[in-house]
Amino acid sequence: MKQKKILIVDDEPNILMSLEYAFKKKDFEVFIARDGTEAIEISNREKPNLILLDIMMPEMDGYETLKQVKDNEDLAHTKIVFLSAKSKEKDIEKGLKMGADRYLTKPFSMKKVISEIEELLA
């Protein structure tokens, strides 16, 4: 089976580091980006199966990044999962409305994040 490509976008290097390690361990091909701009660049190049996206980031935030990914037809099959500290009802609603496949909140359980994503890509 072909290795699944996952792009993890977060501006917190420590969080990024943990996620990268965990997904690599699960045999994903992992790409990381520190902000939206970088994320778009990598997406266009690598066409990941899934993007795990933080919302509050400098320069280009998660929402804008999502919009740009959705606008790109090449990325039509790319799933998007928000992973954000914004955990209010209306934030979650907003994220899903914009087209995210899942909305996960911080702080998160690594196991749960992995199982959700595996389920989504199955």
Partner: protein, 895 residues
């Protein structure tokens, strides 16, 4: 011409008047009866037989002095626009129907005063009416060539029948409505028409005399100048004559306001005060035209006629001498017309006064209260009709008995003289608040007594004891008390003498009594309404001070009796609506009492109205103290109102403030929510990081160097969490002013050195230089730990935002007189323009809420600000510096 022929002419003429009056009544609202010309012409009722015949008589014997009687009105007319307007307005509002009503209402609706004015008017006018009858009788005799002026008995005297016919006319058209303040268009129309007729006829005879009998005015002048007494006819005479002129002008000035018939046509029958504007120039013009040919006719008569004939009738005798009978009849009809209009209006006015001010209040009030509306209306009308007949009959007998020897001129003047006694109470009453009822009565009585003494005593004593001493030697032998030359003023005519002294004492008594007596509350109330009529609207009903108890039902029953149920209900409905009073209100207030009084005044006169209302209401007289109290109360209310107004303004301001505070609170609340959101978010980040790392660490396969890295990360994030929590607590403490500052005197240089020392390691690691030119002994009083916190924060920020290796930080210390300033300047990326105002807010993040700051709690600058402010200092960003960030804070040296 035969007796019957003339009689027929008279009857025809009178029937014509009936028809005209009828037509005018039918067309009450037409503009033919309601216009300034009719109004002005009706004023010309002023010109009586005295004008029509008497002027010529005077002109023939004493020259131009006849003019004085017309100069008064001419001088008075311009004043009308102000004075008469006021009188008309007051009269309309009070439904005043006569001069007696007017004066008595002004003085607190005083019944006695009304009766006195009525009596005075009767006294003045009845002889005057008989004079008119005399003129008719005499001219009748002249024209019917009977040869004698005297008749033997009144049943075969045509004058008696003429008088009766006039009485029928007045009784019919004068009492169509019970409400005397209603207009009598029929009568006014005939008076106006008569004014045209008498003027035209008089002008016609003038033209006839001047241009037919003579060859123009020059011809008359030349012929007259040959006569012996010519000088006397064309000059004023001496000082005495000058005074006579002056007093006569004054007399006629008063008369045009006060004569009952003048008051009636000018005020009661006025239906539009704008008519005054036309009247003030048209009426003098009318008088001028009327006097145009007087002198010519007089001189012509002197030239052509026998000195023994009655000079008054020159205008009739001249055409008769030429056997121009047609013209003579015309002149006769002109005179007759003059007489009729005068008698009609005078008796109408007098009968109203007699019924409303004497008969009803003094005799019939009880009967009227018991009667039903129809009966009452009938009774009131009958009282008036009987008064009219009685007046004319009394006048007729007066003429038969006394007026034979007296000339038109002298009776006219005496009549004016008596009427003039009303002047002080009338004119001063309109302009001076202090005038009181007692003063008015006293003044009038004193004036009348003097008139009696100076004018009538000589006549009476002449008749009784022809050689009595009083006239020649004065009362009790004192020369000063000679009736005709009182106080030795020998150069005045008897009339002028009487005028001077009666008016002087009348006015003096009026003023003296007014100053020494205080009117009751009613008088003062009305005085205020009359004098200050601009403010009338406020005063007339609301301003009436009345104390007592009355029930609406009683008042309604009373009104029903006089107005009928329908009118009463309508009037009360209007009243209730006007003052927003409930229909079910049982108690009557002062306004209703006053309103009802006004309604009744139209029907039965003010005096009776007052009595009637007093009968249904228990009025308690208000003492002076109470009046003062009421005034005081209203003053207090006013003051209270002012206070209330102030309070309400204050409240409005307070509400405004509250609104602002509320808005502020709302913003604060929102900020707090945002703050909590941000705090939660900021706390979550390190927690998430720690949690994720610790989960990953569960993996036992992890290489040891990576494991160490994750553990280090956990440690760092814990520190971050700790700092954040401390900062939040710190900020909250500072916000609530719960921190005690440990103040002491420190050298700011030392503190800065300590701060630099604290960050030196990080700086050198990043390759950023920190420069501070040391300046010793810059002392200030502050909490060093706190200021150190500020400095460290600022330095950390600068370190964060400057580039490694090239970064430069500079600290400047400035000492001012009372404060110490520290400036931290760097060459980093600077603070975006739009953020400069907000960087000191808690967790401030750039407009884009989703963008995170590079690092740190986001509370640093907010804490700095709190600390500086708790030292009473200021902190700010330099808005102009572009090559990095400059933050300056200052604290006072002494706290």
């Amino acid at each position: 011409m035969s007796n019957y022929g003339v009689g027929l002419v008279i009857v025809l003429y009178l029937s014509m008047l009936f028809v005209i009056a009828y037509v005018a009544e039918k067309n009450k609202r037409s503009k033919w009866t309601n216009n300034p010309y009719v109004y002005t012409l009706s004023l010309a009722v002023y010109c009586t037989a005295w004008t029509y015949y008497g002027s010529v008589g005077i002109a023939s014997s004493s020259g131009i002095s006849f003019l004085a009687i017309y100069l008064g009105p001419v001088l008075a007319m311009p004043l009308w626009i102000v004075l008469m307007k006021k009188v008309i307005r007051i009269s309309k509002q009070h439904k005043i129907s006569s001069i007696a009503d007017f004066i008595s209402i002004r003085y607190g609706n005083n019944r006695q005063l009304g009766a006195l004015v009525t009596l005075t008017c009767l006294f003045a006018i009845i002889p005057y009416i008989s004079l008119q009858l005399k003129a008719v009788s005499e001219t009748f005799s002249l024209i019917s060539a009977k040869g004698s002026y005297q008749s033997t008995g009144f049943f075969d005297d045509s004058t008696f029948y003429i008088a009766l016919l006039i009485a029928v006319f007045v009784a019919f058209y004068g009492t169509l409505s019970t409400d005397t303040s209603e207009h009598r268009k029929g009568i006014v129309a005939t008076v106006a028409l008569e004014s045209i007729l008498k003027l035209c006829f008089f002008l016609a005879i003038g033209v006839y005399v001047v241009f037919y009998l003579f060859d123009g005015t020059t011809d008359i002048y030349e012929q007259a100048s040959l006569r012996e007494n010519f000088d006397q006819l064309t000059t004023f005479g001496g000082l005495g004559n000058g005074f006579n002129w002056l007093f006569t002008i004054c007399l006629s000035f008063f008369a045009i306001f006060l004569l009952p018939r003048q008051f009636h046509v000018a005020v009661v029958e006025n239906d539009n005060e704008n008519h005054l504007r036309k009247a003030i120039w048209l009426f003098p013009l009318y008088l001028l035209l009327f006097n145009l040919f007087v002198i010519s006719i007089a001189w012509a008569g002197n030239i052509r006629l026998d000195a023994a004939v009655n000079h008054d009738y020159y205008s009739l005798l001249l055409p008769l001498q030429q056997s121009d009978y047609g013209l003579a009849v015309m002149v006769f009809i002109g005179g007759f017309t003059t007489v009729i209009s005068m008698i009609v209006v005078s008796t109408l006015a007098l009968s109203t006064m007699v019924s409303n001010n004497i008969v009803i209040p003094y005799g019939f009030i009880k009967t009227l209260v018991e009667g039903n509306p129809e009966e009452n209306a009938k009774r009131i009308k009958n009282i008036r009709r009987i008064s009219i007949f009685l007046l004319i009959i009394v006048a007729y007998f007066f003429y038969i008995r006394f007026s034979v020897q007296l000339s038109l001129y002298s009776i006219g003047l005496i009549s004016f003289l008596i009427i003039a006694q009303l002047a002080p109470s009338f004119f001063l009453g309109l302009t001076w608040r202090r005038g009181t009822a007692r003063a008015a009565e006293t003044g009038m009585l004193v004036g009348l007594a003097i008139v009696f003494y100076t004018i009538f005593l000589p006549v009476i004593s002449n008749i009784a004891r022809p050689n009595v001493d009083v006239l020649t030697e004065g009362l009790f032998g004192y020369a000063w008390f000679k009736p005709a030359q009182t106080f030795g003023f020998y150069y005045l005519s008897p009339e002028s003498n009487a005028f001077l002294w009666s008016m002087a004492f009348n006015t003096l008594s009026f003023v003296a009594f007014s100053l020494n007596t205080k009117g009751n509350y009613r008088e003062r109330n009305y005085a205020e309404m009359f004098v200050n009529h601009e403010n009338y609207g406020n005063l007339q009903e609301g301003g009436f001070i009345w104390k007592g108890e009355a029930y609406v039902a009683d008042i309604k029953r009373l009104l029903n009796r006089f107005l009928g149920e329908q009118r009463t209900n309508r009037a009360l409905q209007l009243f209730n609506r006007k003052y927003n009073i409930s229909e079910t209100e049982e108690r009557a207030d002062a306004r209703l009492i006053n309103f009802s009084e006004k309604l009744l005044t139209g029907s039965i006169g003010s005096a009776s109205a007052k009595i009637l209302l007093a009968s249904v209401s228990k009025e308690t007289p208000i003492s002076l103290v109470e009046v003062l109290h009421i005034l005081e109360e209203s003053k207090e209310t006013k003051a209270n109102n002012k206070l209330l107004q102030e309070k309400s303004n204050e409240l409005a301001a307070m509400a405004q403030q509250l609104k602002l505070v509320n808005e502020e609170l709302r913003i604060q609340d929102k900020l707090k929510d945002e703050f909590l959101d941000t705090v939660a978010h900021e706390l979550k980040t390190p927690v998430t990081s720690i949690k994720a790392a610790s989960e990953v660490l569960e993996d036992s396969d992890m290489p040891s160097e990576l494991r160490t890295k994750f553990l280090k990360n956990i440690n760092k994030d814990s520190d971050r969490l700790d700092t954040l929590i401390r900062n939040i607590l710190d900020l909250e403490k500072l916000s609530g002013n719960r921190t005690e500052l440990e103040m002491d005197d420190y050298d700011m240089s030392d503190t800065i050195q300590k701060a630099i020392h604290g960050v030196e390691q990080i700086a050198s690691k990043k390759g950023v230089s920190i420069k501070f030119s040391k300046k010793q002994n810059v002392f200030a009083r502050y909490d060093e730990d706190r200021i150190l916190q500020v400095l460290t924060n600022l330095l950390s920020n600068s370190l964060k935002f400057t580039e490694p290796q090239t970064g430069k930080i500079k600290i400047l210390l400035e000492e001012l007189e009372a404060e110490v300033s520290v400036i931290v300047k760097d060459n980093g990326r600077g603070i975006p323009e739009e953020d400069k105002d907000y960087i000191f807010d808690k967790f401030y993040q750039s407009k884009n809420q989703n963008i995170k700051k590079p690092q740190g709690s986001g509370l640093g600058l907010a804490i700095c600000k709190k600390i500086v402010e708790s030292h009473s200092g200021t902190i700010s960003v330099d808005n102009h510096y572009k090559k990095g960030a400059v933050i300056r804070f200052s604290i006072p040296k002494e706290q």
